[in-house]
């Protein structure tokens, strides 16, 4: 993770992880199954951020190893399921991710669901532990 910190800074959600895996698949196919060179593949098939993060090592001839390491690091990320009541911006996701990384555990991946019926707040599922911090539950507790 240490070597790819710049790349993994932007992998906050399961959707980001899926996109990265897809880019890695395309890169692998382009490099080993076509005659497109690694440079051209990086320029055309992946995002600039990803390309910048892995460019040096990939072009140094360790492409296969680099791709395997990134995949390995991706598989080590711990998934935390969260449910929120609003459509989050990238900034919102970053703030929640940062808070959870600092307070719960490092190397996490957010699996985000949106459920407007919870009104506000958040519901967390981490390692099988369910924590309901939604406004709906608070209101229910208040009235019952």
């Amino acid at each position: 993770m240490k070597d790819y910190s710049e790349l993994f800074e932007s992998i906050l959600t399961t959707q980001d992880a899926i996109s990265l895996e897809s880019e890695l698949d395309q890169l692998e196919r382009a490099i080993y199954k076509t005659e497109i060179g690694a440079q051209k593949a990086l320029d055309t098939l992946v995002s600039k951020k990803t390309a910048d993060a892995i460019k040096d090592r990939l072009l140094s001839g360790e492409a296969k190893k680099v791709l395997a390491e990134i995949r390995s690091n991706l598989s080590k990320l711990k998934k935390i399921e969260i449910t929120i009541a609003f459509e989050p911006s990238q900034d919102s996701i970053a703030k929640i991710h940062e808070w959870l990384t600092q307070n719960i555990t490092k190397d996490i991946l957010l699996d985000i669901s949106i459920d407007k019926s919870i009104i506000g707040g958040i519901i967390l599922v981490n390692k099988g532990k369910y924590v309901d911090l939604s406004l709906k539950t608070k209101l229910h507790e208040y009235f019952s």
């Binding site: 307070n103 009104i119 506000g120 981490n126």
Partner: protein, 197 residues
């Protein structure tokens, strides 16, 4: 020895004359007998008719006597029967009166016993009804309390549902993304303080 014809003739004439005399005698005797028979027959008829008349009279007399006797006997029997009937009627009447009295006494006794028994049963029944009514009242009260509780719970739940929907609408309209973010982060902070995470 040879018999001469004249002798034979005279002998035959003699014998025939003797035979004729015998026949004549027999006829005379027969005639006398017939006369005697008829005389006797007449006497017999006269005698039998007289005897028949006497027997008939005797029978008539006997029949008359027996009828009279039978009538007398019948009257006597009827009389006796009447007497017996009267006696029986009286006895029956007396038995009826006695039976009625005894029956009345028995009924009075039974009535008294039944009244006592009924009174006891009525008391038991009354206390049983009172107990049942108390139990039913208690059950009804409990059921009513339960129902009230259930209804209040339902009302609470419905009220909560209405308030929740209203709150949801209000909050979802009034909350900005930044508000949501702050809510999420403050909820997380609070959960951390409470040790929920």
């Amino acid at each position: 020895m040879e018999i001469s014809l004249p002798v034979l003739t005279y002998a035959t004439i003699l014998l025939t004359s003797i035979l004729g005399l015998v026949l004549g005698l027999i006829s005379f005797l027969m005639l006398q007998l017939l006369r005697r028979y008829y005389t006797l027959k007449q006497e017999y008829d006269a005698l039998t008719s007289k005897t028949r008349l006497q027997i008939s009279k005797t029978f008539e007399s006997l029949l008359s006597d027996s009828n009279k006797l039978a009538k007398d006997s019948q009257n006597e029997i009827l009389k006796n029967l009447d007497e017996i009937s009267i006696k029986h009627s009286k006895a029956y009447e007396e038995a009826l009166i006695t039976g009625k009295k005894k029956l009345e006494e028995s009924f009075n006794d039974l009535d008294m016993k039944m009244s006592q028994a009924f009174e006891g049963e009525a008391k038991n029944f009354s206390s049983m009804v009172a107990r049942a009514a108390t139990n039913a009242q208690a059950e009804f009260k409990a059921s009513l309390e339960e129902r009230k509780k259930e209804m209040f719970t339902r009302i609470d739940s419905e009220a909560f549902g209405i308030i929740q929907k209203a709150t949801q609408k209000l909050i979802s309209k009034s909350l900005s993304r930044q508000d949501h973010e702050e809510l999420v982060l403050s909820a997380l902070e609070e959960a951390k303080r409470e040790g929920l995470l």
